[in-house]
């Protein structure tokens, strides 16, 4: 069997084309290509070379329109056993090709040619074409004896050379024609013995010899017919064939009969050239006869060949069914072919014919059979052939290498288009996804490609096949198989030069994870050219991070443009997945950018089996312009491949639709992410870049609540253009805690040149813990705050908007100057607030100092010569803290007690200062009064007492009472509400006034100090205690000596003192102690005064008690030391509202010393109001009311 046969091949003259001498491949290809074009020589063109030696046997030679056809067998061929049967199988001519520059010795070349041509015994004509000889070679040859057989072609351009070759071929054709004539004449006269391998099997019996003689004539006629066809004379051929058919039929020479019949069809075609359709039916009919005849011949190959010839003849769409039948039966016949190469040829032909018919799957199937036959031959060349054949099939099975894909990946424009299309897939890729499901077949084909590539020693093809196999079918391959493929990849790569690129990516799968937009340190803000505050309006304003109005359709958000800056490194996150069962080492991976304005930095990654990893790939844009990132360049398994994001996206879409075997990312446990679209990236000229760091480290400053600290923020311009504008603002939580920002320092440092830096002080006061969190809940109960550490994100942030010059430095020639964008840097002031001193409680305390009984009631008139012998306070301003309580009648001292606890592990020192109005200055100037420091050890609490001096009481009035006594509030009705509210407000105001003047500063260690913000807490705490202290008693008791006489209206004086002299203390009385001293053994007349502070009449029984220093009652008992006259107990008196009564009595002290007098009363028929004041519940319980103690100093008489 021979490849590439057709019905017309009966008229083709075979010429072996052989390289002679040293023939460089490229030259050989050149010369052969020139030769191959001359496969048809017009008879008319050779007439000049033709000389008729005797009468031509080709009587009907069509000299006008006929032609000789050639079939060039480059490299020659073995002589066929069947060449007697089909003369066209003979090699009738030999052409040697010689490239003179590489074979200088033409003599040797010719010798070699002569040697070669001896192998072709059937050759009638031989020529050796020597190209491009040198002058010396030409001269040598001129004198040579090689005759006409060595033809020199002088160096010339291709056209000239082609012309020369054509001429030589015409000469050769004429020579052949003459040889054919000679042969035919000889064959007609003498006859030759024509044999086929079939004949040799027959035994040569006498009968057989006679039969053979008869047959010989027919066979000779057939052969003559063959030569007529070769000579281009179909009419002559037909004549001879007809004779041959007759003779063959008579002699029963079936084989030759079929051969002659086949010849007639060829002659018919040749004769009726260009009218194929008209003779189609006839040719077909005759050819089926041929096939029938061949079927009776023992060897099957002629039948198959005839079937193939017919199929090729019929091969067109309309006759597809017929052709398919022919081809399928031919394919079935392949089994009976013994010779493997015959089968190979058959399959090749079937595959080609199916391919011509458009049945690409069938063509692929048979191609694969061809490849398998090739692979059965255990040699490299067969493997290469197998590889090539399989490569052709790969298209039909949709496993073709991307490198062979017509749509090369070197068109960035197209890529960009497809990215712009968004998620749309072109139909091509969809179809290929669908076809991917013939995985069983595809894997087999790829495996065979791999096998043949390994055998053929084509490492790149092997790599590519293994890569395709692994990438597409990893779920169907066992881990062991995957490792095998991995080692196949590595082994192939070892044979490849380093840096080899392959169009087919292997693993890992690479998809785009995200484009990290600029970190907040490097935000780019579009400048609003119209405004002074150029950053406003460019970012969504308002309280919401996401405003539904600022952005349009969320679907369009992916259209967002990304701005990259020349010279500033950028990052892109990609996700790699290794779904295979081996450790994958990616030697390097970097972004692939076609636009040549990006320097990508390679990264190497190692992926354990079945894992995915998100890695960040970085690079630096190098020049201005648009930039596209279609994928990554991966250097893995020794070969460089490009992994396009688009491919993986398609794959994932396919996986989502169930078209692809598996989603590599999901099988690696990676979560599904939204399809990330590559934004339009634009590279802009350099901008300034401020880099900030907090001096002393960017880590959080640990501050105690209320601590004040200066933080220095260092801003450096890391860009290449100066910063010309800058503006600092605050954002984030706890903005209040930033007390001051040194923005003037920044302003004065402008323009900040590249590389320059500036330090800005920022003063921070640590905020209160818990206040932020619990501000919604009631803030009254602040005592139970549990310490909380600073949460992330609660720190304030400095936002600095800055911009470079308003025009680009190297001005891009544009119609309007573009305002370069500004930038924003966010400096988080990391503050970690620890719970510091905490405020536990505040109370208002009062301290009583008993008054001395003397002739007058103590009248608090301020005197400069106050002598302190009773109150242990300094006689400075603290003196004035003690004063007479007008409703108690005794000396009182008010103290504010703050209870602070220190839950931390450091020591705090507290210093309290009260801002005081200086009583000596009338213009209300204030001065601070500092109390000594209090130290609070760790995990202890301490109380700080603050004496209150100027605590202003509200104007006292009955209406003040009910507001505290809420239970009786209802009885007072609405009319009291106003006054009640009024006085409450007044009270609150006074408390606020007080608390605002108290500052509690603390210090801990050397450098942390702060202020405790306790205003609100104190205020809240005081509300509860203040009433007990400030509310007047219902009754005021007072004692005085009535030795001289009754002073008039002592209480009036008292009231006067109270009304205008709040700050006065009644120290004056003490100076008169000596003047009105009480002596023992003397009658001492005294008076007790009881004042009713209520607006109701109070009935009571008054009692007076006297106690000595030991606290024993001096009136009663066995050892009574005091004698008395008058009533001292059970005195029933009625006190009218806001009036006072006096009751006189006389005492006689037996023993000198200190005594204490106390008045007390049991109130009868107490009103609800009084009961409430006394905090009693039962209505019949008597209300007991006692006054403060009064002291008496009794002097001895001696």
């Amino acid at each position: 069997m021979e490849p590439d046969v057709s019905i017309e091949s009966g008229c083709m003259i075979r010429i072996a084309v052989l390289p002679v001498g040293d023939m460089p491949r490229s030259n050989m290809r050149d010369y052969v290509s020139m030769l191959l074009r001359l496969n048809k020589i017009e008879l008319s063109s050779i007439s000049s070379f033709y000389t008729e030696h005797q009468k031509s046997p080709f009587a009907h030679q069509p000299w006008e329109n006929g032609s000789l056809r050639f079939k060039f067998l480059v490299g020659g061929a073995q002589p066929s056993a069947w060449e007697d049967f089909q003369s066209n199988r003979k090699i009738l001519g030999v052409i040697g090709l010689c490239h003179c520059p590489s074979s200088p010795d033409l003599g040797a070349v010719y010798e070699q040619f002569q040697g070669i041509r001896k192998a072709y015994s059937s050759a009638l004509v031989e020529k050796c074409f020597a190209f491009c000889p040198s002058d010396s070679q030409v001269q040598l040859e001129d004198g040579g004896k090689k005759g006409n057989n060595l033809i020199l072609f002088p160096p010339a351009d291709r056209q000239t050379q082609e012309f020369h070759i054509q001429t030589m071929m015409q000469d050769l054709a004429a020579a052949l024609l003459m040889e054919f004539e000679k042969y035919v004449l000889r064959a007609e006269s003498a006859g030759t013995i024509l044999k086929t391998p079939l004949d040799s099997q027959t035994s040569l019996g006498s009968e057989e010899v006679i039969k053979a003689k008869k047959r010989r004539l027919g066979r000779a006629q057939k052969t003559i017919g063959d030569y007529c066809l070769l000579a281009g004379s179909p009419v002559d051929a037909n004549d001879h064939y007809s004779t041959a058919i007759e003779l063959a039929r008579l002699t029963g020479d079936v084989f030759w009969h079929a051969g002659a019949l086949e010849g007639t069809v060829c002659a018919l075609l040749l004769d009726r050239m260009g009218q194929k359709d008209q003779i189609l039916e006839e040719a077909k009919y005759r050819y089926y006869d041929v096939i029938q005849l061949y079927r009776r011949v023992p060897t099957v190959s002629f039948e198959l060949q005839a079937a193939l010839k017919l199929a090729r003849f019929l091969c067109r769409r309309e006759l597809a069914k017929e052709v398919v039948d022919l081809l399928m039966s031919a394919a079935d016949g392949a089994k009976s072919l013994i010779d493997a190469s015959d089968r190979l040829v058959l399959y090749v032909e079937i595959a080609r014919l199916f391919g011509n018919l458009g049945y690409e799957r069938k063509a692929a199937f048979f191609s694969r059979q061809v490849a398998q036959l090739y692979l059965q031959q255990d040699n490299c060349w067969a493997a290469i052939s197998a590889l090539q054949v399989l490569a052709m099939t790969s298209k039909a099975y949709r496993v073709q290498s991307k490198g062979t894909n017509a749509r090369s990946h070197s068109f960035p424009n197209e890529l960009r288009l497809s990215h712009l299309e968004g998620g749309k897939l072109n139909s091509q890729s969809i179809v290929s996804l669908f076809e991917c499901q013939w995985s069983t077949l595809q894997m087999v084909v790829l495996r065979e490609i791999l096998l043949s590539a390994v055998r053929a020693g084509d490492p790149l093809a092997a790599w590519s096949a293994a890569a395709r196999l692994l990438r597409s079918y990893y779920p169907l391959i066992t881990p062991a198989g995957q490792s095998g493929l991995a080692s196949a990849l590595s082994n192939s790569a070892e044979r490849l030069p380093s840096g080899t690129r392959c169009a087919d990516p292997a693993v890992p799968f690479v998809r785009l994870h995200s484009f990290p937009f600029y970190p907040s340190q490097m935000d780019i803000i579009k400048r609003n050219s119209g405004k002074e505050e150029w950053w406003t309006g460019s970012i969504p304003s308002g309280p919401f991070i996401y405003t539904p109005f600022s952005k349009g359709d969320p679907n369009e958000s992916h259209k967002q443009d990304l701005i990259w800056i020349v010279g500033e490194p950028v990052q892109v996150l990609v996700e790699l997945a290794n779904p295979c069962g081996f450790d994958l080492t990616v030697d390097s991976i970097y972004l692939s950018v076609y636009s040549n304005n990006f320097n990508a930095f390679p990264v190497s990654v190692c992926l354990p089996p079945n894992t995915s990893k998100v890695i960040s790939l970085s690079g630096i844009p190098t020049s201005v312009g648009p930039l596209t990132i279609p994928g990554c360049i991966v250097h893995c398994f020794g070969v460089i491949t490009e992994h396009l994001f688009r491919d993986v996206d398609n794959l994932l879409i396919g996986a989502a639709q169930g078209l692809v075997l598996s989603d590599p990312f999901r099988s690696c446990g990676s979560t599904k992410i939204k399809n990330v679209l590559v934004p339009n990236i634009n590279v802009v000229p350099p901008l300034p870049l401020l880099v900030s760091h907090v001096v002393g480290g960017d880590s959080a400053a640990i501050l105690y609540e209320g601590e004040i600290r200066d933080v220095w923020v260092c801003l450096a311009n890391a860009g290449s253009t100066p910063v010309e504008q800058a503006h600092i603002s605050l954002s984030g939580k706890n903005q209040d805690s930033v007390i001051s920002i040194g923005s003037e320092i920044l302003k004065s440092a402008l323009p900040l040149k590249p590389g320059a830096e500036v330090m800005i002080p920022v003063t921070i006061k640590a905020w209160q813990l818990g206040l932020v969190d619990s501000e919604n809940s009631t803030n009254k109960n602040l005592t139970g705050i549990i310490g909380r550490t600073s949460k992330e994100g609660s720190s304030p942030m400095l936002v600095i908007h800055y911009a470079g010059p308003s025009q680009y430095q190297e001005e891009v020639q544009t119609i309007e100057p573009i305002l370069p964008p500004g930038r924003r840097v966010v400096v988080p002031l990391h503050v970690c607030v620890l719970q510091g001193l905490s405020f536990v409680r505040a109370r208002l305390l009062s301290m009583e100092i008993p008054a001395h009984i003397r002739e007058t009631l103590p009248i608090p008139v301020y005197t400069d010569e106050a002598v302190s012998d009773e109150v242990p306070v300094n006689e400075t301003k603290a003196d004035c803290l003690v004063k007479i309580d007008p409703y108690r009648g005794s000396w009182g001292l008010r103290l504010l007690e703050l209870e602070l606890s220190n839950p931390t592990d450091v020591v705090f020192e507290i210093s309290v200062s009260v801002q005081m109005e200086d009583p000596t200055t009338s213009d209300g100037e204030t001065s601070d009064f500092h109390y000594p420091k209090t130290r609070i050890d760790r995990e202890y609490s301490a109380r700080v007492l603050i004496p209150l001096e100027h605590f202003k009481l509200p104007v006292f009035d009955r209406s003040f009472l009910p507001k505290e006594t809420k239970r009786v509030e209802s009885s007072y009705g609405k009319h009291s509400n106003f006054t009640e509210r009024h006085s409450k407000a007044e009270l609150n105001a006074s408390i606020k006034n007080l608390t605002s003047r108290i500052k509690v500063r603390w210090q801990s260690g050397r450098n942390s100090s702060g202020e405790l913000n306790i205003k609100d807490a104190v205020q809240a705490a005081l509300q509860t205690t203040i009433m007990d202290i400030l509310l007047p008693d219902p009754l005021t008791f007072g004692f005085r000596l009535s030795r001289n006489k009754f002073s008039t209206g002592p209480l009036d004086a008292q009231q006067n003192a109270r009304s205008h002299g709040r700050h006065h203390s009644g120290e004056d009385g003490r100076t008169k102690v000596l003047n009105c001293s009480i002596l023992a053994h003397e009658m001492t007349p005294m008076e007790v005064l009881v004042r009713n502070n209520t607006k109701e009449l109070v009935k009571m029984s008054l009692s007076i008690t006297c106690k000595d220093v030991a606290g024993d009652n001096c009136f009663d008992g066995d050892k009574a030391t005091v004698l008395w006259a008058g009533v001292l107990s059970g005195i029933r008196v009625d006190v009218p509202p806001l009036q006072e009564i006096t009751h006189s009595f006389v005492m006689y002290f037996l023993v000198p010393g200190e005594y204490t007098l106390m008045g007390s009363a049991v109130i009868d028929d107490a009103s609800d109001f009084l009961r409430d004041r006394a905090r009693t519940d039962s209505s019949n319980e008597p209300i007991f009311c006692s006054g403060p103690p009064f002291r008496l100093h009794v002097l001895g008489t001696a």
Binding site: R317, M328, G358, Y359, R361, F434, E435, L441, Q657
Partner: protein, 143 residues
């Protein structure tokens, strides 16, 4: 005997392929089914314009190969059914009725709300039913 039935989707993607031979020739049957798509494509793209065959779903004998005969059927949604048999004399009527039953089984299978169109048919019930239809293929002639 039926050796293989296959369902091939709109995009020539295999949806179901089941062989009924003991021999390990699944790959060969894959190839046969795959190759038959050529003929189906050709018949679908170049329909004979006669009115009676316009709506014909049965494509008839696609091609004989080796010992097999391959029959085709195409639904109105362009889903193809391929039948590979070793019987040499098969009545067209048998094949038609086979395909009709197979078609209804397929319709039932893809009517499953959990089935995703375009995905491979993994229904056990469908496989069971197909096995029954295949089993009753030869016996149907006597009925």
């Amino acid at each position: 005997m039926i050796v293989c039935v296959a369902v091939v989707g709109l995009q020539n993607n295999p949806l179901y392929l089941q062989s009924f031979t003991e021999a390990d020739d699944a790959l060969k049957l894959h190839y046969i089914v795959h190759c038959s798509l050529d003929v189906i494509d050709e018949r679908v793209n170049n329909p004979k314009k006669t009115g009676s065959t316009m709506n014909e779903t049965f494509l008839g004998l696609l091609y004989p190969t080796e010992n097999y005969k391959v029959y085709g059927y195409i639904t109105n949604t362009k889903v193809k059914f391929v039948l590979v048999t070793t019987d040499l004399d098969v009545k067209d009527a048998d094949v038609r009725s086979f395909f009709r039953r197979f078609h209804s089984a397929y319709v039932d299978a893809v009517s499953n709300p959990f089935h995703v169109t375009g995905k491979k048919i993994n229904s056990v019930f469908f496989a069971e039913r197909v096995r029954d239809i295949v089993k009753s293929f030869g016996t149907n002639t006597t009925v």
